[in-house]
């Protein structure tokens, strides 16, 4: 049994066109169907095209003229459809209208712990080509070796690729990106790099921030070096940034060197601080160059103690009543510790944190 013939044929079928071009399409009804040119009409993406643009080229052939086409509404192609008078679909053609790709730009790469390479890039300045554009990252060792193609895409955003293995150190690589779509190909400029020049590492782990005894203006920060450090011949230098809870302004401590602890001083008493640490591998295999800073560690919070003997009181709701209350509370907690079991967490410090939280939530409530 031969398959049923298509009711009609459209020409051109699935063409690719440059933005701004014009097109004349024809719909020819199959001889098996009793339809004439005057029984037909066209739609583009669901909207009926004006009859003024039609022309009957034969008893069962109707054409439509499309001028100055805009870029395709969807990347799967604009739907140009030939209908019979009652709305039935006889045939369709997908129009791919767009621009050839632009040269990809801004290729940046980094290697996590000298094991792999991840690169990202940006599409050319126009960006929107209206056509599906394929990007291929290629790389080869300079002076010899074949072109290799990166396989794992979208690891660090849409325009990125990850090369997981088989990378050589101490040798320059040439890296470039090819963009292609139905209208053409564009190749980026070649970037040359040595893996050792773009090394980064994981952020430091186990970041702890704690008070320094009763000192109101200091906090102690401790962290562990990223585990990959042990395996490789590089040193690490660190940077700390911290801010007060309510502010978005970070203060940076730059001269931390390669220790894994640091003391922050000159802080405000009774304030909650957020602290982050990051790491930069340097002196890789003895080179003088620095690597790439890691991401910041997740923020850790801690508060500086507040002494009750602060004159004037920073507490706006303060007054004689509160200092008396606090003193009494402190005495109560001291007694609890001596005479009750299992209440070791209860203490004046907890009361302080509660006060901080209370002020913060009060402020938030007042702001609304």
């Amino acid at each position: 049994v031969s398959p049923a013939a298509d009711p009609a044929v459209i020409s051109p079928q699935d063409p690719t066109l440059l933005i701004g071009s014009s097109l004349v399409a024809t719909c020819t009804v199959s001889p098996d169907f009793p339809l004439k040119a005057e029984d037909l009409y066209w739609t583009l993406n669901g909207r009926r095209l004006p009859a003024a643009s039609y022309a009957a080229l034969g008893p069962s052939t109707l054409s439509v003229a499309l001028a100055r086409l805009n870029g395709s509404r969807q990347q799967s192609g604009d739907n140009l459809v030939c209908h019979s008078r009652d709305g039935g679909i006889l045939a369709g053609s997908c129009l791919y209208v767009g621009l050839p790709p632009e040269k990809p730009v801004n290729i940046t790469c980094w290697s996590k712990n000298m094991k792999d390479l991840t690169c990202k890039w940006a599409p050319g300045t126009e960006g929107e080509t209206f056509l599906h554009t394929n990007y291929t990252l290629k790389y080869k060792r300079r002076w010899y070796g074949q072109d290799n193609t990166c396989q794992e895409y979208h690891t660090a955003g849409t325009y990125s690729c990850h090369i997981p293995k088989d990378l050589a150190l101490f040798t320059p690589y040439e890296i470039w990106v090819e963009a292609s779509n139905r209208l053409g190909v564009a190749v980026s400029d070649v970037v040359m790099l040595d893996i050792l020049d773009v090394v980064t590492t994981d952020p430091p782990s186990d970041v702890h921030v704690s008070r320094v005894g009763d000192l109101e203006d200091q906090l102690s920060v401790r962290w562990s070096s990223p585990p990959a450090l042990k395996d490789f011949l590089f040193q690490a230098k660190y940077q700390i940034q911290y801010r007060v809870e309510d502010s978005s302004e970070w203060k940076v401590v730059d001269d931390v060197g390669n220790q894994t602890s640091c003391r922050l001083a000159g802080l405000r008493p009774g304030t909650v601080y957020f602290v982050q640490v990051r790491c930069n591998p340097f002196s890789i295999y003895g080179s003088k160059k620095a690597g790439i800073w890691s991401d910041w560690s997740n923020p850790t919070a801690a508060s500086t103690p507040r002494s009750e003997r602060v004159a004037g009181g920073c507490d706006p709701k303060g007054g004689e009543q509160n200092t008396t209350l606090r003193r009494e509370l402190k005495q109560f907690f001291g007694w609890v510790k001596k005479h009750a079991y299992g209440c070791s967490n209860l203490g004046i410090k907890l009361y302080d944190q509660w006060r901080v939280w209370l002020q913060k939530s009060h402020k938030a409530r007042n702001q609304v």
Binding site: A4, Q74, S76, G77, N79
Partner: protein, 219 residues
């Protein structure tokens, strides 16, 4: 062109899973619970499909994403197994036939969806399709598990009329869009029908299903 023929052939070969390992769930769960789980899965997939279909039809563009869109079903679109069936016929199905129809349909639908996944343009769609295919694979396995626990053999051989190798699935992009539309429609209808199939099975399979299995073995 040629690559489509290869695709179709590969699909047919891959999808003729002759022997799915019978799930041990019959020991722990019993067919009654497996049926309930399968029912729940079809409802979940129905829900997932709504989002997937919405995204996909928007990708195809108007008129495909218009609510009243109803294109003709051309001869080539009949490869996709149809869920619509005469009511009396449906009522009269044996448990085995009912389960087998579901098993065959979803195995085939999964095949076509996987091919779609390989071709589709945007990253978001690929992600959604991939997720849906994984869930659908789970449904096929779940149905297989129910069949095994009730002592029914899994359907083997090509599900439905075999497609001639080399026959192009869709000779142009617009017809392919129509095929995709109907694939999603049939999936929707199947999931809607399966909920009713499994509801019916739920009522028929008693909690003590051990007796059923012994009877099956007695043949």
């Amino acid at each position: 062109g040629d690559s489509w023929g290869i695709f179709t052939f590969l699909c047919a070969a891959l999808c003729n899973l002759p022997a799915l390992p019978a799930l041990n769930c019959s020991e722990e769960l019993g067919a009654g619970q497996s049926i309930q789980q399968t029912y729940d899965l079809t409802r979940y997939l129905e829900h997932q499909l709504r989002t997937l279909a919405g995204t996909y039809l928007n990708y195809l563009g108007p008129p495909f994403n218009e609510p009243d869109f109803n294109p003709p079903r051309l001869a080539r679109a009949e490869r996709v197994p149809s869920a619509t069936v005469d009511l009396d016929l449906w009522r009269g199905l044996t448990d085995n036939a009912r389960l087998a129809a579901n098993y065959r349909a979803y195995s085939r639908l999964l095949c076509y969806l996987r091919v779609l996944d390989g071709q589709v343009g945007t990253a978001e769609l690929r992600h959604r399709l991939g997720h849906f295919c994984a869930s659908l694979q789970g449904l096929v396995l779940s149905i297989g598990g129910v069949m095994s626990s009730l002592g029914y053999p899994l359907p083997t051989g090509p599900a439905g009329p075999p497609t001639p190798p080399g026959a192009p699935a869709a000779p142009n992009d617009f017809l392919k869009k129509m095929d995709d539309f109907w694939l999603l429609k049939e999936l929707q209808t199947w999931l809607w029908r399966s909920a009713k199939d499994f509801n019916r099975l739920k009522k028929k399979v008693p909690p003590a299903v051990v007796t059923l299995r012994l009877e099956a073995r007695g043949f």
